[in-house]
């Protein structure tokens, strides 16, 4: 999510393909270095409710996640 623009596709690829995964990792790190927060929309296994899971490293992305959403970190308004 980019202020003034909304949703912008940063990178896409197949994690099974090494080159593409490296590109995804690079973009992931770049976004976190820029100070963005990363979250993956998931479904709670217990309640069945939709929720988000914050990820701070590429390895924390849940298996089978189809996307990671980056958004500016929250600050007091």
């Amino acid at each position: 999510m980019k202020p003034g623009h909304g949703e912008v596709l940063l990178a896409e690829g197949d994690t099974a393909v090494r080159e593409q995964e490296e590109h995804l990792i690079e973009e992931f790190r770049r976004q976190l270095d820029e100070g963005m927060w990363a979250a993956v929309p998931t479904t709670n296994a217990g309640s069945g409710r939709r929720e988000a899971q914050m990820v701070k490293a590429y390895g924390e992305i849940p298996e089978g996640a189809d996307r990671v959403i980056f958004f500016p970190r929250a600050s007091g308004g």
């Binding site: 999510m1 202020p3 003034g4 929309p41 929720e51 500016p72 929250a74 600050s75 007091g76």
Partner: protein, 217 residues
């Protein structure tokens, strides 16, 4: 004779001066416009549809992330309710629901309240500022702002609440308006409940009708 001609030329020049100045101004303006069109200035062109398109994309993204009830709530009422995760004791959970919940508005503070009593607790002012340093003070489209708050609250409630500026309700939001929104939410849920029950009532009514018809035969 020569003197008369000179005097006439001078008068003509004086009379023509305003026209010459006006024409020079026009040419200067035309040159500047052409320079701007060629990209002489580094100002981005204003696109009036950009924000609308961004909001449409944001709505689709929000819809794909939250559940059907939350999406319908946002579409119909303009805000989303997110349950709080903490409770001091089990008794705080009213009717199996959360002890407290948040109303998430776009570009407005998050409001915490008690679902059971409707008591308003506090408002949390949060924003998601532009981190790119591109200058200008852009903000997220409305639906992206709601989604960012939803993601932050459902994933790491403590962190977002720590970062927010907390105030009593009334600093930015009108408490009467929030109470009205809670009433609208309750009405909205009642209507949905009735709609959910209606088909099941119809289904349960059908066999009995058949039974009565077979009974009359």
């Amino acid at each position: 004779m020569l003197l008369a001609l000179l005097a006439l030329a001078l008068i003509a020049l004086v009379l023509a001066t305003p026209m010459i100045v006006r024409e020079a101004g026009r040419r200067r303006a035309r040159r500047q416009a052409a320079k701007a069109a060629r990209g002489g200035f580094d100002l981005p062109m204003y696109d009036p549809g950009r924000e609308r398109r961004a909001e449409q994309r944001a709505r689709e993204l929000l819809r794909s992330c939250v559940n059907a009830e939350e999406w319908a709530m946002y579409r119909d009422l303009g805000f989303i309710r997110v349950g709080g995760k903490h409770a001091r004791r089990d008794a705080d959970h009213s009717g199996g629901g959360p002890a407290y919940a948040y109303l998430v508005y776009a570009h407005k503070p998050i409001v915490a309240y008690v679902p059971g009593s409707g008591q308003l607790l506090s408002e949390y002012c949060v924003e998601f500022p532009d981190m790119t340093g591109s200058g200008g003070r852009h903000r997220l489209p409305a639906s992206d702002d709601v989604l960012a708050k939803w993601m932050a609250l459902t994933s790491d409630e403590d962190r977002v609440i720590r970062r927010a500026n907390m105030h009593l309700v009334g600093r930015q939001l009108d408490p009467a308006r929030v109470r009205r929104d809670l009433w609208r939410l309750a009405e909205w849920e009642r209507r949905r409940q009735r709609r959910r029950e209606a088909p099941s009532r119809k289904q349960s009514a059908r066999p009995s009708a058949r039974e009565s018809s077979t009974g009359s035969e």
